[in-house]
């Protein structure tokens, strides 16, 4: 796959980070470019603490003191870094046609785990059963992680089950699967949250003891499948992760 540099905008994110924005949009092609450029910049830029991808932008956190050491006294680190990034982004990027991981996530949609499914159904003039089947009808892309450790933003849901988030956050149980706008996501940890909760997965999305603490990563494909309350109990304490790949 050959990536053609999209138009982008570079701006400071304070004096220790820099933002490369590819368009303030949720689009799969832009997100693919963002992920590929994130890897490129991670490998090529010196004295960088980390490069973090989001939906349509990436942030580079850098070490100002180390950069300054290698520059003439009057020069500004940001300017030099910006030039270096522009030069790297001008190179066409050949990305290995890497298969996205296919991850299967079990979800129990039964009422005790789906406090907001009725509201979401009636707001869209459909039944709760239709909400479930529409939620199951698509494979979703993990666009990014953020908000909480291991929280992934998946997109995009059928517009018939879209709904804005709540105005006031409510306590949400770990494993809860929610919808906000056209995004769907899974709460890895207990937290206040505004997403409309329609089910719960028994899988541990985040495990601080694991070498890879988050189950999902940006670029994964996620397919939900429905399970019963009994399946939920059986899986909940099982340490085995889905083999989806």
């Amino acid at each position: 796959m050959e990536l053609i540099p999209e138009s982008y905008h570079i701006s400071p994110l304070g004096d220790s980070a820099i933002l490369v924005d590819f368009g303030n949009k949720i689009e799969e092609n832009i997100n693919k470019e963002v992920l590929a450029r994130t890897s490129q910049l991670k490998e090529s830029l010196p004295d960088v603490k980390e490069v973090v991808s989001a939906y349509s932008s990436l942030a580079i956190y850098y070490d100002v003191v180390k950069w300054k050491k290698n520059l003439p006294k009057e020069s500004v680190v940001f300017d030099r870094l910006k030039e270096t990034i522009e030069q790297l982004l001008s190179q066409p990027l050949r990305v290995e046609a890497q298969e996205a991981r296919q991850m299967k996530i079990p979800v129990c949609y039964e009422p005790e785990f789906a406090p907001d499914i009725h509201d979401l159904a009636s707001a869209n003039n459909i039944t709760s059963e239709e909400v479930v089947s529409l939620h199951l009808s698509k494979t979703y892309r993990v666009y990014m992680l953020g908000f909480l450790p291991g929280f992934c933003y998946l997109g995009q849901v059928d517009e018939k089950i879209g709904m804005p988030r709540k105005t006031q956050p409510h306590p949400v149980a770990p494993g809860s699967v929610g919808i906000a706008g056209k995004q769907t996501g899974i709460y890895p940890l207990p937290s206040p949250g505004g997403w409309r909760i329609i089910g719960r997965t028994p899988l541990k999305l985040f495990d601080s003891c694991a070498d890879q603490p988050a189950l999902l990563r940006a670029g994964d494909n996620v397919q939900f499948f429905a399970i019963t309350r009994n399946d939920f109990n059986d899986i909940q304490n099982s340490p085995i992760l889905p083999e989806g790949t």
Partner: protein
């Protein structure tokens, strides 16, 4: 031979310079709120600046030393005593076995740092000792310190010869705090990505007015109160990167300043960023305090950060020399 918590404080956690390299999994860097003070305490205690320290909020924990230790306090002044006798901030202090370190009132600031020579013997998590409260990992058992916690210290100093029968010794050198005084209390800012979305009136108001730090302020962020600001037009921001010091515009026109435990990404307009060199000032402000902002250039922001770095290098050289000299004379 440990450091024991005999009375837990309201929110005392182990912190260091934070964990970078995991934000792509939603794990924010965290770390000390006032990293400058954490470094100063470490340097005074004879440590590498980035060693793990204990960040204290008031009311702060009381500590019992089961072994002699070389310690230092920096950041907020919580009126510390060792065995009931007042001890100063910003000095290295040798405390004898069975000493009790306590804190009595807020004299100034919001967060104090306790550094102990050799550091804390605790397991790291993802290359950092910082406590990640949301993940319940890192630091001491992933949580704030509680009564009867026992933290092992990495080295067992034999300070008996130096201390003799004294309960503690205040070493006769002090970290300078006047190096950064430039006659202004303003917090310096760089413009944020969405600053230009503010209406002209709001842009002007943003800089002109002062803000009060509200009670909804913690390690994640400070809510600051002023006249509301408005964007024009009101366009959505797709979730995107943020940083320590990022000032976000909330729906309703109020502002929040992101602090050490901020989320990795945000969807609110980023109006500005408090420069890194002023994070320590921000971290020492508390609810009820007022703050004012002033825009500076990137060049100024970088210069001030380099100046801070050089100050720490000088402090480190001086403290290393003085401590060596002192130990040679007394052993």
């Amino acid at each position: 031979m440990n450091l024991r918590i005999i009375k837990a404080g309201v929110l005392d956690t182990v912190q260091d310079m934070g964990r970078y390299g995991w934000q792509h999994l939603g794990i924010n860097p965290g770390g000390a709120m006032d990293k400058l003070s954490a470094k100063v305490a470490n340097i005074l205690a004879g440590n590498d600046g980035c060693e793990a320290v204990i960040e204290l909020h008031f009311p702060a924990s009381s500590f019992f030393f089961e072994q002699p230790a070389l310690i230092a306090l920096s950041g907020a002044d919580f009126s510390a005593t060792v065995n009931g006798d007042e001890v100063p901030m910003l000095h290295p202090i040798m405390v004898s076995k069975y000493s009790i370190l306590q804190f009595h009132k807020i004299v100034s600031g919001a967060r104090a740092y306790l550094a102990i020579n050799g550091g804390l013997d605790i397991p790291g998590w993802l290359n950092s000792y910082s406590t990640h409260l949301k993940a319940g990992a890192g630091g001491y058992k992933g949580r704030p310190l509680q009564n009867d916690d026992e933290i092992s210290l990495k080295i067992h100093n034999d300070l008996c010869k130096v201390l003799g029968k004294k309960e503690f010794i205040i070493l006769p050198w002090k970290a300078d705090t006047a190096w950064d005084h430039n006659g202004t209390e303003d917090l310096y800012l760089l413009a944020g990505n969405e600053f230009n979305r503010l209406s002209d009136e709001s842009k002007e108001l943003f800089i002109r007015q002062s803000y009060t730090i509200t009670a909804q302020s913690d390690r994640m962020g400070y809510q600051i109160k002023g006249e509301p600001l408005f964007t024009d037009p009101n366009e959505e921001v797709v979730s995107s990167g943020v940083n320590f010091g990022t000032i976000q515009l909330l729906p309703g026109g109020q502002l929040t300043v992101l602090m050490a435990d901020h989320q990795t990404t945000g969807g609110y307009p980023r109006l500005a960023h408090v420069i890194s060199a002023h994070h320590y000032k921000l971290a020492q402000r508390k609810p009820g305090d007022t703050i004012r902002f002033r825009f500076v250039t990137m060049s100024t922001a970088e210069e001030l950060l380099i100046k801070q770095h050089q100050h720490l290098l000088q402090l480190n050289n001086a403290c290393t020399f003085r401590l060596q000299q002192f130990m040679n004379e007394h052993s």
